[in-house]
Amino acid sequence: MRQSFDFPADTSVLAKIGELATETGRAAGFNDNEINDINLAVSEVCTNTITHGLKNDPTRTFQLVIQWNTGEIEIFIHEAGEPFDPPDLKDPDLEASLEDRPVRGLGLYLLRNLMDEADYRVGRDGVKTWRMLKRKAEA
C-alpha cells in the first residue's frame, strides 16, 4: 500500500501528519509503542524540513510518502529547500548536566533511535529526501 500527500511548510500540519502515521502504523500491524516511535520520527523529520529546509514558508510545500506492508512501514519526505548536512550533527551528550546539556541535535538522535533505518540523500535534481523504515519487532 502506498499513500502520498503534499503539505505546506507550516508546523500546524504536524498534528495531521501524526494522525496519518498513527493510522498507517495501525494498518501495518504495529503496536501502540511502535506507532508512537513512528509518529515521533516522522514528526521530527517534517519539523526539520519545515523549519530548516523550507524556512517556515507556507507557500512552499513538501511531499510525504508512506508505504507499508504488514509489519513494515517506509516513509519518505521529499523537499527542494535549503541544503542540510546531517552527518555533521553529532549525537548529543546525554550524560551532560542540565547546565551543559546541548539543545540541538536531539531530533535526529531520536530519529536514529526510534527507526530501524534512517537516511538522507540529495538527488541530481536538488530534491532532498529523508527515508526511514521500521519493522515490527518479532513477537
Binding site: T11, L14, N33, E44, T47, I50, L106, L110
Partner: protein, 113 residues
C-alpha cells in the same frame, strides 16, 4: 493546545492539554515565561493530558528549567508523564537532569523539602 494554571503555596501547577510539538511549544514557553516575569519561579508541569512530545518540546522545558535553576533558584518539575512521553524523556536522557513525579501533589510538595 490548552493551558491552565492553579497556584498553591507559591507553586504554580501548569496543566497542558494536547500535543507538545514544534507547533505548540512556543505557546507553553510564552505562558511560563510570562509567569516568571511576574515573579513565579516554582512550576509543576502537569503532563497527564499530553500524549506526545517532540524534541522542540524537550528543548523548551530544558531551557526553562535551566533558566529557573540558574537565575532564580527555582525549578520546572514534571508530573504524570504518559508512557509515550516518558519514553522520549528516557531516550533523550532528560529524566536524569529533570525531576519527574508520578503525581502532581508530590511534585508540588517537593518544593518544600
Amino acid at each position: 493546545m490548552k493551558i491552565t494554571e492553579s497556584v498553591k503555596d507559591n507553586v504554580s501547577q501548569v496543566y497542558i492539554k494536547g500535543r507538545f510539538d514544534a507547533h505548540t511549544c512556543e505557546t507553553v514557553d510564552a505562558y511560563i515565561r510570562e509567569k516568571m516575569e511576574k515573579g513565579r519561579h516554582q512550576f509543576v508541569l502537569n503532563m497527564e493530558k499530553v500524549p506526545f512530545i517532540d524534541s522542540a518540546g524537550l528543548r523548551v522545558v530544558l531551557v526553562i528549567a535551566r533558566d529557573l535553576r540558574g537565575e532564580y533558584q527555582g525549578d520546572l518539575r514534571f508530573a504524570i508523564l504518559q508512557p509515550a512521553v516518558n519514553k522520549v524523556f528516557e531516550i533523550s536522557g532528560l529524566n536524569n537532569v529533570l525531576r519527574i513525579f508520578d503525581d502532581a501533589e508530590t511534585a508540588a510538595q517537593s518544593f518544600s523539602e
